[in-house]
């Protein structure tokens, strides 16, 4: 079954919702660019609005989780594939930062760049193994590969390299600079914010452009009917692999940012729970829209700060996941989108987004 084609029944309704225009007009590109620029500018003002370090650190956590959720949303939206293994690229990249700075004395800049590159290469390897699968097969394969990396990381014989269950410090000289920021500044959520926010907006724009390009149209064809695409003379393996690697790279950027900011990596980053949490964030926010996973990530971080003390976080996130899947397919942003289409102004614009 893992080699089966994507049957329509395998496609989550959560990702069926969007009718992405096949091609985007010049006006569409302009509107997109304007929205991106405005969002980018508005986001940069956040550290000036609040100086509370706790809120800032939550906002930063949300942006980092959003990168992971965004990468999951991209695969779901354009290929109908749900991954539980992107922690391998997120956590793998974070571990690379920790290992190269600690063991090899690399500077933060070089470590982060190589970490993202290495995790992206890992995505090529994993992708080659899994992208032929679809639906449940894909979900289980990505889960298994992600957990394999986790098991390798935590075993005792890996202790000299990964620190096993203890995790690893990201240690580099205090005056080494990352994009002009010293080590202390990178660890300061307010000062690190512009870097993280830029990465998020850039990633979102990149994924949006890819989705609207000719390549995006090919992906959509594969999502809707993989077999027909093959019969029409399109290779489907390479486009799927490319999409998987793009998505993995976005997750890797999130992992590198996390490692630099927190200066500590632990096996949790690679664990089943992180995979599940990021997926829940993406689904609750809405897999059908570009911003859905970002909204979900922000909500998740908020919920985490509210409920973590009682230890009941997963009780609520589990309930949220069940309720959204049962009653609000398309998540929060998908629900808002449907609401907007019902309004006179939304309907007139033909349900534009």
């Amino acid at each position: 079954m893992t080699a089966s084609t994507t049957s329509t029944h395998d496609l989550p309704a959560a990702v069926e919702a969007p009718a992405v225009p096949a091609s985007t007009s010049r006006r569409g590109w302009l509107i997109g660019a304007a929205v991106a620029a405005a969002t980018f500018g508005l986001g940069l003002t956040v550290p000036f609005i609040t100086s509370d370090p706790f809120i800032m650190s939550l906002a930063l956590d949300a942006v980092i989780l959003a990168l992971l959720a965004l990468s999951l949303g991209f695969l779901a939206r354009h290929l109908g594939l749900i991954s539980l293994g992107h922690t391998a690229f997120f956590g793998g990249s974070a571990y690379m930062v920790a290992m190269t700075t600690t063991h090899w004395d690399w500077g933060p800049m070089r470590a982060a760049a190589v970490a993202v590159l290495a995790a992206t290469l890992l995505a090529v390897l994993f992708g080659a193994l899994v992208v032929r699968a679809s639906g449940m097969g894909f979900l289980m394969l990505t889960l298994a590969l992600g957990q394999a990396l986790y098991s390798l990381t935590v075993q005792t014989s890996s202790r000299p390299v990964t620190g096993a269950f203890d995790g690893l410090q990201v240690s580099y000289p205090a005056d080494a600079r990352f994009l002009g920021l010293t080590r202390a500044e990178v660890g300061d959520p307010g000062l690190f914010w512009p870097v993280a926010w830029s990465c998020l907006v850039l990633a979102a724009v990149a994924l949006w452009v890819v989705g609207r390009s000719r390549f995006g149209t090919t992906l959509e064809g594969i999502r809707e009917n993989e077999e027909r695409m093959r019969f029409s003379g399109y290779g489907t393996f390479v486009p799927r692999l490319i999409a998987f690697v793009i998505s993995g790279a976005v997750a890797a950027v999130g992992g590198a940012l996390f490692a630099l900011n927190s200066r500590f990596v632990s096996p949790e980053l690679l664990g089943f729970a992180t995979a599940g949490d990021s997926l829940i964030a993406a689904i609750v926010g809405g897999l059908g829209t570009l911003v859905g996973p970002v909204v979900g990530a922000a909500l998740y971080i908020y919920a985490q700060s509210e409920f973590n003390d009682s230890g009941n976080l997963h009780l609520y996130t589990g309930l949220a996941l069940i309720l959204v899947l049962m009653f609000l397919p398309g998540g929060i942003t998908g629900g808002l989108q449907r609401l907007w289409r019902r309004l006179p102004i939304g309907a007139r614009r033909g349900g534009g987004r």
């Binding site: 893992t2 395998d10 989550p12 394969l141 889960l143 589990g318 309930l319 069940i322 049962m326």
Partner: protein, 284 residues
């Protein structure tokens, strides 16, 4: 490699067999990977612990599968049946949410600390197997699980209900056209799958220690077993479960660092060489 090590592998393999056959049955019929299967096993173990410490292990062995079958009925009626026309992935993710909630409820009731129980007095001590002393209880786990597995195979291949289950797993639509009450078959299968998970949980109580992470931990292994065995194939899942249990336990005694990757390695190898699993049929 001693006899005791091999038997340990068989004991782990027996538990995996019982768990994965339930998961494979539900998958075969509903097309849904039940991510709550690990949670069912865990709930079974905790309920068995409470019943076992208050009454007796033997009562637990009877009661827990029934309780879990009831949970399975709820699972089928409230979730699987209502969501039958939704994509399988979405239903699978709903079970993932259920597992998270279930895990937390277990913590709220039984607490977070690790629990353990002794085997019933009739099964304590050890027996000499080919000159090696081996714990009686583990032999009991092996015998009980193997008996359960053979009973299940016989039931599926010989009884009329078994025929209906096999037909419905093969092609739900055709089976219902041929007059099989698919809803009833499905209810039965999900209840049976959950009961088997409960049985595995009960057997596990005196064998492994209980902690709230035990469900998620074994779930991944069971998922791998089911994929290796050929998704939806009960026989394949049983063989893969036993094989993996032995390989992992024996592997651990040789090199722990190699043993942890055995399941993943096996999975990747099987999928590269035989993408539909050991006993896989071509997916519809």
């Amino acid at each position: 490699m001693s006899i005791a090590e091999v038997l340990n592998g068989v004991a782990l393999g027996s538990l995996l067999m019982v768990l994965s056959s339930g998961l494979a049955m539900i998958y075969g019929l509903r097309g849904v990977t039940n991510f709550a299967h690990g949670a069912l096993y865990m709930v079974g173990a905790y309920v068995a612990y409470s019943v076992g410490t208050r009454l007796s292990f033997w009562v637990a062995l009877l009661v827990v599968p029934v309780v879990l079958a009831a949970v399975g009925v709820v699972l089928e009626l409230v979730f699987f049946r209502r969501l039958e026309h939704r994509s399988h992935i979405e239903v699978g993710l709903v079970t993932f949410g259920l597992a998270l909630v279930g895990e937390r409820i277990v913590v709220l009731i039984w607490g977070e600390r690790t629990l353990s129980a002794d085997p019933p007095s009739a099964l304590s001590g050890s027996i000499s197997v080919l000159g090696t002393n081996y714990p009686t209880y583990r032999l009991f786990v092996i015998v009980a699980a193997l008996a359960m597995a053979s009973a299940l195979v016989l039931y599926l291949s010989r009884s009329e209900r078994g025929l209906h289950i096999r037909a419905a797993s093969h092609d739900l639509e055709t089976a219902s056209i041929m007059g099989i009450n698919v809803d009833r078959v499905s209810l039965f299968v999900v209840a049976l799958g959950a009961a088997l998970a409960g049985l595995a949980g009960t057997l596990a109580v005196p064998y492994v220690s209980l902690d709230p992470g035990m469900g998620a931990g074994i779930l991944i292994t069971v998922l791998i077993v089911v994929v290796i065995g050929g998704v939806g194939s009960i026989g394949g899942a049983m063989v893969a479960g036993m094989g993996l249990g032995i390989a992992q336990t024996v592997g651990t005694t040789i090199s722990p660092s190699i043993a942890v990757v055995i399941p993943y390695l096996a999975l990747v190898l099987v999928l590269l060489l035989r993408p539909t699993g050991l006993a896989g049929r071509r997916a519809a």
